[in-house]
Amino acid sequence: MAGICCGVVGEGETSATIEPSSRALKRRKMELLTYKFIADVAAVPATAAVEFSRKRRKLELCASGCSSSRGCDNGVESSGARNKDGSEGSQANEASRLNLPLNLCENSALEHVENESLHLVNPKFGVTSVCGRRRDMEDAVSIHPCFSQQEGSVQNGFHFFGVFDGHGCSHVAMKCKDRLHEIVKDELESDRAVEVQWKETMERSFTRMDEEVQESNGSDRISNCRCELRTPQCDAVGATAVVAVVTPEKIVVSNCGDSRAVLCRNGVAIPLSSDHKPDRPDELVRIEAAGGRVIYWDGPRVLGMLAMSRAIGDNYLKPYVIPEPEVTVTDRTDDDECLILASDGLWDVVSNDTACGVARMCLRAQKRPSAPRSPGNSGEDKKDAAFESSNKACSDASILLTKLALARHSTDNVSVVVVDLRRER
């Protein structure tokens, strides 16, 4: 595995750099991605797949120079996607000890491209996920940059962002966090079409996710799951899922439930998903056609029980509540600023416009790259600094939105992901 370089960033450090000790190494440095990660990125949760820490961060640096991009893939498998460290509620200091199974992988197809494009390919984002005023944490966040790695494939530049809001218990949301990106990756890789058929791919993925949830009911339940002791069959458990696959050209949002994705384009908030509420006219028609009823009991609810019309899981409400996502495919433009994915803990109290305004201000307030750290001040250093500060801006945005939601008395778990979509200038 000569092609893989792994660095563990220790406490207090803000970067993992690979020191070039020879000419050859120096040359390789151009190919290596020496990413710097900001400790302040506020990923809180045990439930987030991407978990950051000041204390311990694992930073996988995958070499662009690897002869086969499989190397990167293995990197993802071994430490990223397989990370199970943060099982909910198990660790005394889990929130402050966040692992970062973040794999920043470059692929062989892009290895000779200028550094500019390397930065363009890697996503900058911030994530915050807190329990808030709830007594249980049922949200889960999953972030996987370059989640699909295939030699010479355009799919190498695809990034996965998902927010899952569980109800009944957290285990369906957790399962989505652990598995959905792998399912989507699998579907993408088995898709032989020249152009990705996004709608079909994502629909198939969500269906498979739902099937896996059904199969796992009663078997490999997460040990800390609080419903474990209650019912042998956890049929009344489900999760919303809002997933964004960001490619160099497109933003593909698949939504099932009442979490939401909002694009901030030139200061304007554009929702890329539409909440699945039981009283949404077309959803109401669909539910009634299937023989179900929407009963008002503390708001509109399917059969008077579930306050959303689509979700992963919730077997007891099938076929009225379905796991089928609505998929939107949006072409990226130079006016795009950021993408916000969040659970209803945010959207219940903060409007799309306000969220967009706050995120935009944070991105704009981003600190200028400061003076070079090393005397051998190269353009690369400056870019690293810019990358760092952009990540900081995204985490500033996600945390400020979370604080705003809490300030406005959000009574739910709050999870916010902010993805920087600005092109390098």
Partner: protein, 292 residues
């Protein structure tokens, strides 16, 4: 007289007093409340004074004194609860309003996080504060310190630690509640059920009247049977109080000194005002009852 010693004075004078347990704790409690009120004034003036590097030490020592005052409260509570746990679980010095919101004889530990989020939210939503925070992101760290800090400033790392602490606190709170449930259920254990039956039988057989000797013996048996149950409650109360104090300290520990001052102000204000409102309402109800 420093406040630390004032709470000690409260304690010693209340102990010296030979009145029944609950009465002397009431005296201690009232004395402690006036100490809390005095601390509140100090905290408020500290929060108002302009920030400077020099006063950080002063803030720290003020916080330390306030925390010591809380510690003193829980020490006193532990002493009294060893003598009369029942009085500590149904505190007559609290108003009915407070009583209704008590969790195992005191405030619910997870409330600390709601208090923090509410206060932080109010400060974040204060006019101009949000844009001030965003502007602060552009400025360098050196100039950023000049901006007045409060709970709106909670950093990503702090929020992450608060969230972790909250989850652990709720988990412990649930465990203690479960423990309490177990102890409460023991009231229907065979020994008590049997005793209640035997005594009932005796009452029926004796036609209501019983001899003095029997009564004494019965009282002794009841005491013996209840003693371990009370001991169980005492242990749960001790755990609950330990969690309360630890949660308070842990929250303060992860805040900056000025943030901790704001948090302690919010905590004292809530405690004192709820107590007052409750007392006023009780007085009114009492008056009403007299008029009827």
């Amino acid at each position: 007289m420093s406040l630390a010693s004032s709470s000690a004075t409260c304690l010693s004078s209340a102990i010296r007093n030979n009145s029944p347990e609950h009465e002397s704790f009431q005296k201690f409690f009232e004395c402690w409340l006036s100490g809390q009120n005095q601390h509140l004034q100090e905290l408020i003036s500290a929060a108002k004074s302009p920030a400077s590097a020099a006063d950080e030490a002063a803030l720290r020592s003020l916080i330390e004194r306030v925390v010591k005052h809380y510690e003193c409260y829980y020490r006193a509570k532990a002493t009294w609860s060893r003598r009369d746990v029942l009085a500590m679980l149904t505190p007559s010095w609290r108003s009915t309003l407070e009583d209704a919101f008590l969790w195992i004889g005191g405030w619910r530990p997870s409330m600390a996080f709601h208090l923090l989020y509410s206060k932080s939210g109010l400060q974040l939503e204060a006019p101009g504060r949000l844009s001030e925070l965003i502007n602060a992101m552009t400025t360098t760290t050196a100039t950023a310190t000049a901006i007045r800090e409060d709970l709106a400033d909670i950093s990503p790392e702090q929020l992450s630690r608060v969230d972790g602490l909250q989850r652990r606190t709720i988990k412990e709170e649930k465990e203690i509640s479960e423990e309490m449930a177990k102890r409460q259920e023991t009231l229907a254990a065979p020994d008590i059920v049997e005793l209640s039956h035997v005594v009932s039988e005796q009452m029926t057989a004796g036609g209501g009247g019983s001899r003095d000797g029997d009564e004494e013996e019965e009282e002794e048996r009841v005491e013996t049977a209840l003693k371990p149950k009370e001991k169980g409650l005492e242990e749960v109360l001790e755990r609950a109080d330990e969690l309360r104090l630890r949660t308070l300290k842990d929250v303060i520990h992860l805040l900056t000194p000025i943030q901790a001052v704001h948090f302690l102000i919010a905590a004292a204000e809530l405690h004192l005002r709820i107590h007052e409102w409750g007392k006023k309402r009780d007085a009114k109800t009492h008056q009403q009852r007299h008029l009827d």
